[in-house]
């Protein structure tokens, strides 16, 4: 469970707020989408959860513990992290990338090996075939699968994702989205995913927080957001996927 209580973030000593007085709760096993235009504060909000950024004021609790009371490295090792840049270590093999966090946590070699095999199986890249490859020998989609496997290797119950599928081609993106949603459900992961793709948010998230200028305008389920937007801006950004869906429906009726 993740709780943000009156969190503010300013990069210029308070003159402007990147994130203004934000409070929200992500329940255990819930998938929260954070959506908004570039610079709206969604990535800053995400990064404050694992202390890649520190809040100027307010409190952030992960599983009931204030993140500022924890060693940042220990905190991050217990939280999965997937981002658009993927950031696989190019000098290590695929398998070595997957086991990076268990190694940092000094698991036993047997546990590490077993977990590596399981994680790679889970993302559909069996260790026998892909384990010894170097990341540069994988396609973009395969690389992000390994990115996901790395994030899940240490069995975190919280996963942060920063536009994880943004750089992939549409077909690969759909595949990965579906697979990840299944993994999230079956492992009951608590996920916060930053995206600027409303369709992605609508299809994956249990609830969506719409941000603009550092402020959360509305937090609601996809259904509520589509049917009852409380803010013009929210109405605007759900209009596009709605129109597309309606258009596609028309096309299908014409057939």
């Amino acid at each position: 469970m993740i709780e943000l209580k009156n969190v503010q973030k300013s990069y210029d000593g308070g003159a402007t707020l990147a994130v203004a007085d934000t409070s929200l709760t992500v329940e255990r096993g819930e998938f929260l989408g954070l959506i908004g235009a570039s610079g709206c504060g969604k990535t800053t909000t995400l990064k404050m959860i694992n202390r890649l950024e520190e809040p100027t004021s307010g409190e952030i609790l992960v599983n009931g513990r204030n993140v500022l009371d924890q060693n940042p490295e220990a905190l991050r090792r217990n939280i999965g992290y997937v981002f658009q840049g993927i950031g696989l270590f190019p000098h290590r093999t695929v398998a070595q990338n997957v086991i990076a966090v268990p190694q940092l946590l000094q698991w036993s070699p047997e546990d590490i090996r077993a977990r590596c095999e399981a994680c790679m199986e889970m993302v559909g890249l069996p260790i026998e075939e892909y384990g010894a490859r170097s990341p540069s020998q994988l396609s973009g989609g395969q690389q992000q699968r390994i990115g996901v496997a790395r994030a899940l290797a240490a069995k975190p119950d919280v996963v942060l994702m920063d536009e994880p599928f943004g750089a992939l081609d549409p077909i690969t993106r759909n595949e990965l989205q579906d697979e990840f949603k299944n993994i999230q459900r079956s492992m009951e992961l608590t996920v916060v995913m930053v995206t600027h793709d409303m369709t992605e948010a609508l299809l994956l998230a249990d609830r969506i927080a719409v941000m603009r200028d550092g402020i959360v305008l509305q937090i609601a389920t996809p259904h509520e957001l589509l049917t009852n937007p409380t803010h013009d801006y929210v109405r605007e950004i759900v209009a596009m996927p709605r129109k597309r869906a309606e258009r596609i429906e028309e096309l299908m009726r014409d057939e």
Binding site: E73, L75, G87, P90, H91, L104
Partner: protein
């Protein structure tokens, strides 16, 4: 020629060992200092700018100047240490710069990922940034390695043994075989060490690959063997060597090589074991005999008078001798005696040109000088002697050109200049049949050659007895002829030494 070659090749093991030790020690310490500095600089902008500026400035210093400065800072100490320090300083720029560049070029997304999964800054540096920057850092080390091998040849001037001994002796004594052997050996060492580092890097990058490929395993073994061998050879030089009884030294010009050879031969025949340190810088060798790291060499009264006593007057040959002897005694340097010849500056002309103009002394030049072109070595026109000559005779030349000494003589021979600043014992004075002009107003200093010895050597009666044979035994004429054998006739130094020994017996 082939005798010359085999003579040179006999010197190869010692020079190779000296050169290798110098290079490896400087590079090893250079890496140990420069990589951490580069890491530090990459982390702090406040460090980076000044640090890169400082290492760049070191690099822009002429290498000879650095060597001389290090010797001065070490209080006149010569040999391995000053050369090693100078080379280490010189190796720093490419390593520091490449370390910074390599670390900076690691992709941000990789660093963000490392941070995001919970690596500490130290783990990120050690496990992510340094391995990824390694190829760039190694490229810097290779650049530094090649530079250092090349620069190590200059360390001959401060008394460290290297392939530079071949090159300096060869250039000064016109021994092209020596120059060639030295240059090829130095280039070969640079290429060899460079490819060794490259193969070590190649192996490190593949250390994770299964070693079951026999080719890889064999390669790995042979690289390790070469590294071990080279390290052993270099370290061997650090073992205490059986010290020679006496160290004979000389400056980097022909006369000095011949006199050092003569001293060494006489002393060896008297039963001493002798080590020769040849081609030392002028200041370096004087400081070395004072501090006792050199036992005997040939110095000139004019050099002491002008360079160490800072005297700008010229009271005449005898007064200079007396003044210099007093000064040396105060300095605690043993002046054992004069050899008999003097190698001073003299204005020289082609005999035909002098006759045509009716010139036999500098006095005769006064009315003509405004029409004449003069050539000199690189320093003459900057020396007090030239200023005194100009003022005493109240004359100046229409044109003043400076040359490398050997080019200066050919310029005179080819009538590009009318007058040159010759050296009185130079073999080319005899070979070109030059007229040395008289100097009635004593503008040019006397440069009597004398033997300076360390207190250790001077305390040995056997040494003093042996040296006595050289005192007042070599004439200007004989020295000029000996120099001519090497400089003009292309004979090895040993032939000139034999010639001088014959002359000494005749006296």
């Amino acid at each position: 020629m082939s005798e010359n070659l085999s003579e040179q090749l006999l010197l190869l093991p010692a020079y190779f060992q000296g050169h290798l030790l110098l290079t490896l020690a400087a590079i090893t310490v250079g890496v140990m200092i420069s990589v951490p500095l580069g890491v530090w600089a990459e982390q702090s902008v406040r460090v980076k700018r000044p640090l890169l500026t400082i290492v760049s400035i070191i690099q822009t210093f002429p290498s000879l100047a650095i060597l001389a400065l290090v010797v001065a800072l070490l209080g006149g100490r010569i040999g391995f240490l000053p050369a090693f320090i100078a080379l280490t300083l010189y190796s720093m720029l490419p390593i520091v710069r490449n370390t910074v560049t390599g670390l900076e070029s690691v992709s941000n997304s990789v660093i963000e990922a490392a941070k995001g999964i919970g690596m500490s800054p130290r783990q990120i540096l050690r496990e992510i940034k340094l391995p990824l920057a390694m190829p760039v850092i190694v490229a810097g080390i290779r650049t530094a390695m090649v530079w250092t091998v090349g620069l190590a040849t200059l360390s001959t001037l401060v008394g460290a043994v290297s392939f530079g001994n071949y090159i300096f002796t060869g250039i000064q004594t016109r021994n092209l075989v020596a120059v060639t052997v030295g240059s090829l050996a130095s280039a070969g060492l640079a290429v060899g060490l460079d490819s060794l580092v490259a193969s070590v890097q190649w192996l490190i990058e593949r250390r994770n690959e299964a070693a079951d490929s026999t080719r890889l395993r064999r390669l790995r073994l042979s690289v390790y063997a070469v590294v071990a061998l080279i390290t052993a050879v270099a370290l061997y030089g650090l073992l205490p060597q059986p010290r020679a009884d006496l160290v004979v030294a000389g400056k980097p010009f022909t006369e000095q090589y011949i006199m050092a050879g003569l001293l060494a031969q006489e002393l060896e025949e008297a039963g001493f074991s002798v080590e020769q340190r040849l081609g030392l810088g002028s200041d370096v060798v004087y400081e070395a005999v004072r501090s006792g790291s050199v036992d005997v060499y040939v110095e000139y009264t004019g050099t002491i008078w002008a360079n160490y006593m800072n005297r700008e007057d010229n009271p005449g040959r005898e007064s200079i001798r007396a003044g210099v002897m007093n000064y040396l005694q105060e300095q605690g340097v043993m002046a054992v005696g004069f050899t008999g010849f003097q190698n001073r500056y003299a204005l020289a002309m082609r005999r035909d040109r002098a006759e045509q103009l009716g010139v036999s002394s500098i006095e005769d030049l006064v009315s003509l000088s405004a029409e004449l072109a003069a050539g000199a070595d690189l320093e003459f026109f900057g020396r007090p002697e030239w200023l005194r000559l100009r003022d005493l005779y109240n004359m100046d030349f229409a044109e003043k050109l400076t040359f490398d000494p050997s080019l200066m003589y050919s310029a005179l021979a080819q009538r590009q200049v009318d007058v040159i600043s010759a050296y009185t014992t130079d073999g080319r004075v005899a070979a070109f049949d030059l007229l040395l002009l008289e100097d009635p107003r004593n503008a040019l200093l006397a440069y009597d050659a004398m033997l300076l010895a360390s207190p250790h050597a001077a305390a040995s009666p056997a040494f003093m007895r042996t040296i006595a044979a050289l005192i007042d035994s070599i004439s200007d004429q004989a020295m000029r002829q000996a120099n001519r054998l090497v400089d003009v006739d292309g004979e090895p130094v040993s032939v000139a030494v034999e010639y001088l020994r014959g002359e000494m017996l005749r006296n």
